[in-house]
Amino acid sequence: MTLVIEILISLCLVTAGVFGLVGSYGLIKLKDTMQRLHAPTKATTVGVGGVLVASMLYFLLIKGSLSFHELMITLFLFLTAPVSAHFIAKTFIQAEVTEKDLPDPEQEFGWAVFDDAPSYPDDEGQDQNS
């Protein structure tokens, strides 16, 4: 039984290490910044997730103490990864891409990075009435 537990934990650790390495290797391998944005998500989800699952299994099955801190870290990373990726993409568009390179938004207001926020006349009318 101990051997099965050890194999399970070792499998989690090896998978996590390989995926973390792949995520950072993609960061130097891919050509474009927008492509590079794609690579470290592997390191975030499977890399850190595998390490945290291995840690949870280790402390639950060998030390005999259950803790939910790892799940909190996983949840926090899953929540914050899209926000920071969106911010980095916006930084890249603002610094390196001109408005001519982007496709036409086909709406009355343009891209959020270059144009001001649209104003809604209906909201102002409601404010005057109230």
Partner: protein, 89 residues
Amino acid sequence: MIDLALTFAVFCFSLALLLNLWRITRGPTRADRILALDTMVINIIALLVLYGIYERTAVYYEASMLVAMVGFVSTVAYCRFVLRGDIIE
């Protein structure tokens, strides 16, 4: 066997940190550097948890939680500084 797997995982994440450092020094745009720093924080969280397993102690969860929070806030602050020239408008 767990110790062997731990050594392998620590080796992988350390190599990943070196690759991130290469991207930070080379990175043609500022977005690349921010992205590499963000990935570096994630790799450091993994290394901290691995060290916690190696030392058989649960102290390092709090440390990795703090590193995760500080890393996210610093990424957003750096992006906003590059985007708007100011962090809190």
